[in-house]
Amino acid sequence: MQHYSGFGLLKHSLSHHENWQRVWRNPTPKKKYDVIIIGGGGHGLATAYYLAKEHGITNVAVIEKGHLGGGNACRNTTIVRSNYLWDESAALYEHSMQLWEGLAQELNYNVMFSQRGVYHTCHTLQDMRANERLVAANRLQGIDNEMVDAEQLQKEIPTLDCSKNSRYPILGASVQRRAGNARHDAVAWGYARAADALGVDLIQSCEVVDLEVNDGKVTGVKTKQYGVIKADRVGCAVAGNSGVLAKMAGFELPVESHPLQALVSEPIKPFLDTVVMSNHVHGYMSQSDKGDLVIGAGIDGWVGYGQRGSYGIIEHTIQAIVELFPCTSRVRMNRQWGGIVDACPDASPIISETPVKNLFFNCGWGTGGFKGTPGSGHLFAHTLANGKAHPIAEPFSIKRFHDGALIDEHGAAGVAH
């Protein structure tokens, strides 16, 4: 893999940048792989990378129907944090957080992980209790998280309205200072480039139309462009499309796919140098390095695969943002878009075996998949390499929807993860 650095940029500028290597090959698929990963988003690419790097399994293909990182990987609002409530989730997201730290160096690709902090504002006593509970749990779980009062919050975020004048005045907030943002495209591309360098075949514009299942065992995938490609094990990391793949395999999932919308303002000079989320007034915002205010909110309440939702959600979201940051009223909204999020009833993901042998699913991340990318890939690679779950992933089995051991993160997940 060609090493990237400032010196490299200087060197290549002398040859007019004509000699940069390709970031990844464009291979024709082999007849058979040890592992096929369906879905070339962040989670699928991270899985492939860790399979090759940590488990030495390099006869791997990632099959993507469009282009790499073209789904939720490039449609999210890039928030990374690990302050979840229950021990199981805290372990999962903190595992991911620790992989985020140092990821740019590991991949030699600047994923711009910026630990600028994530605040959850509290507007009611109930909010305060929930956040105090979360902070108390996180501290003993080894995850940084702390409460700040409204006065302190005003000092830390001058543009946030911490006065008593709003409809739901801010009473305080919890803040995870190690949390923050990363550059979403770079994460997908960085994993893709590193996986390719380790020998993984990244097959783009290749759509899986069926799974080849014999005697309750998956033996390959059927693609539109290349016919059947055999595999010993198949992992699905297709987020919103999980239900469609499950249907091919003949089972249902405890998952529904909803539109999740987001929007950006026009780029403006530094306005907010952290991330603010409010469950109660229902909106969250950060500012990208380009200067756009990046804003998101809740999901549309119905199943939708159209990568767009209803205008009412956009309206309510902007109302929430103007309520939190009144000085944005004259700032202008530039663009909106939507993704398809696969949401589980307990707002926790699924990293699991399935009723079909050798077929594994990594899905149900709902609105919070981006932050989970490295951890999800790392743990799913373990599952695919060993045929059984890593201890951290174990509680996230599909089984929990039968025995009732749900990991209800609606409180911590709130407006969005």
Partner: protein
């Protein structure tokens, strides 16, 4: 934004007056106590979640408060039909076995 015909009010109204209540035709098992954990879990949580035709339950929550069914394309968001509780859909995905049509009251 969806434009929805309420079969009880006999009017098209804005989506904001309605509330989606998930997949339609999920019948509560008649004898829950006889269900295994697995069966109960499937009833509670597992869903068809199709890309394409979806039969779903809606309620005119800010209107007449009545529930009704809708067949909607989840890809194009086109509403194919509205039908009352207890009725069966007439627009169905021909690639899907017709077990939904056998659904009981709901």
């Amino acid at each position: 934004m969806l434009h929805i015909y309420c079969p009880h009010c006999a009017e098209y109204r804005e989506e904001e007056e309605f509330h989606a209540a998930g997949q339609a035709h999920i019948v509560r098992p008649l004898d829950p106590d006889a269900c295994t954990d697995k069966e109960w879990g499937e009833y509670l949580f597992f869903r068809k979640n199709p890309r394409g035709l979806h039969h779903e339950l809606w309620v005119h929550s800010a209107g007449c408060r009545k529930f009704f069914n809708m067949t909607r394309d989840t890809q194009t968001y086109e509403i194919k039909e509205i039908y009352k509780i207890g009725e069966k859909p007439s627009v169905v995905d021909s690639s899907v076995p017709q077990e939904i049509a056998s659904g009981a009251a709901s």
